[in-house]
Amino acid sequence: MSDLLEVRDLSVRFDAGRASLFAPRRWLEAVRGVSFGIDRGKALGIVGESGSGKTTTAMAAIRLTQAAAGRVLLEGEDLLTLDEAAMRARRKDVQLIFQDPYSSLNPRSRVRDILREPLDLMEVGTRASREERVRELIDLVGLRVDQLPLFPHQFSGGQRQRISIARALATAPKLLVCDEPVSALDVAIQAQILNLLLRLKEELDLGYLFISHDLGVVRYLCDEVAVMYLGRIVEIGPRAQVFESPRHPYTRTLLAAVPSLKRRKSSGFKRPAAIEGDPPSPINPPKGCAFARRCPHAKDICLSIDPALEPRAGGRVACHFPVS
């Protein structure tokens, strides 16, 4: 049981329309029974490829996307059953930052107003104390107070991402959902933001739900890692466990696919554990293990029975034949 966030059997599905007028309605099963927990001051990274449901999982966990089933316990309180007003009040504890530094800030607001709006909405403190808090925030993320009257388009991508972080921190949240926060940035800037996030996590005892497709980034920032494939968590565990001795064949494939500075063309490297094809469609997902059709170790049972997420040496793995 984690002391900050506990997500149990979360499912999300979207209406995918009908194939024809009289065909049955189809559902896109974006998230299928996902469970995980985050402790105070710890970061859980969710990695996966596009369509794996990692962003939808995060959005459903903070009720910005409607969940079809499951429970989301924030410090023991189920967010999914709160009424509108109670949820609005609770939002000050869960905030998020986004991928695109260009569309995440309202182009018509000055930075000062962007940072103060959450405080105004939550009616935190007096007017003067809010102004004071805004100055504190801008300083916290490494920008200057004299930049407060500017508009977002007057900042670079990295600076905008800092503003985004400051806005998310305004109400002193306990959990920060980070949806690919450095993916749109150049590597040099990416390092600046990652170090900032790392510092804030320690200084403010923040919990992170960190979504990324970049395994290196997750490894750098997160304490625990969950690997998603087609709406399910296939492997979850402490960072060292998942990265040093992955158990799920998909995790291994993923790790082998990441370009590495250690593998050289000059030494004639050949990629191990390469797989073919694309993930199956999340509309009417296949029976059995979703990865079975691309998996080098798949047997008959994998095509018929979907493996449950079971504890294996420190982490949990959803595979009939985990690699050891």
């Binding site: 609005r88 009040a89 000050k92 569309s103 995440s104 018509r108 709006e117 959450p118 909405l121 900042f155």
Partner: protein, 285 residues
Amino acid sequence: MDESAQSPAAEAWIAFCHNIPALAGLLILLGIVALTLYGTLFYAGDAYEIVWAPHEKPLTESDFPLGTDYLGRDIVAGLIAGGGPTLAVGLCAALLTMVIGIAFGALAGYYGGWVDIVLMRITEFFQVLPALLFAMVLVTLFSPSLVTIAIAIGVVSWPQTARLTRAEFLKIKELEYVTAARAIGTRDRRIIWKVILPNAAPPLIVSATLTVGVAILFEAGISFLGLGDPNTMSWGLMIGMNREYILDAWWPVTFPGLAIFLTVFSVSLLGDGINDAFNPRLRER
């Protein structure tokens, strides 16, 4: 990086001020408005009264610089008197169009789902009716006054605005700053009117400008057919009344037509200017 704190609107205004055709449009339009509002102060003439022989040519009689019509009424006086109703109807109709269109489009675009389906079906329904014909029917059914005409034009022209608004809302509501607003617990009403609408404003302002032009043309068409208020002078009516005699006298129809053209043309230049001013693709890089 530009360190002066300029809002996007202020930057657009600066860009607008550097756009010569747009400024020209604004100037012409202001001129026309001033003429119709204050023209009578320095040009004393009655538009309705027969003051001279019919079909006096322009520039022959100094009292009637643009000549007289088939009854012998002063054309300049007609132009001054007819401008007001035309402009007023255009403006009111455009206002109504924007109000209905934005309300429909905003709600349909933001909420999606069945709200969208119902509202857009209604919109589509109104697009099926040939606008001018429907407006003509409305005007004749409910007494041909300026108010009726404005309402009729508004009722038939809002679907385009609704579609545009909806498209903008669909685009903007997916942007992350809207999600951010939801994440801090902003209510739907505030998101729609305070977050999305201001960002959707530029194309809507342009559309509103163009709608004024369209409404003016509509009003002219209705009056031209003689379905408008027969007791109120308007440019379209002047053309309609003198239509029978065009082969004898070209001027009574030409000048009101030019007046309509010039008004709509200047409104259109203005709209283009606003569009360019807000369009970042023309300004950036």
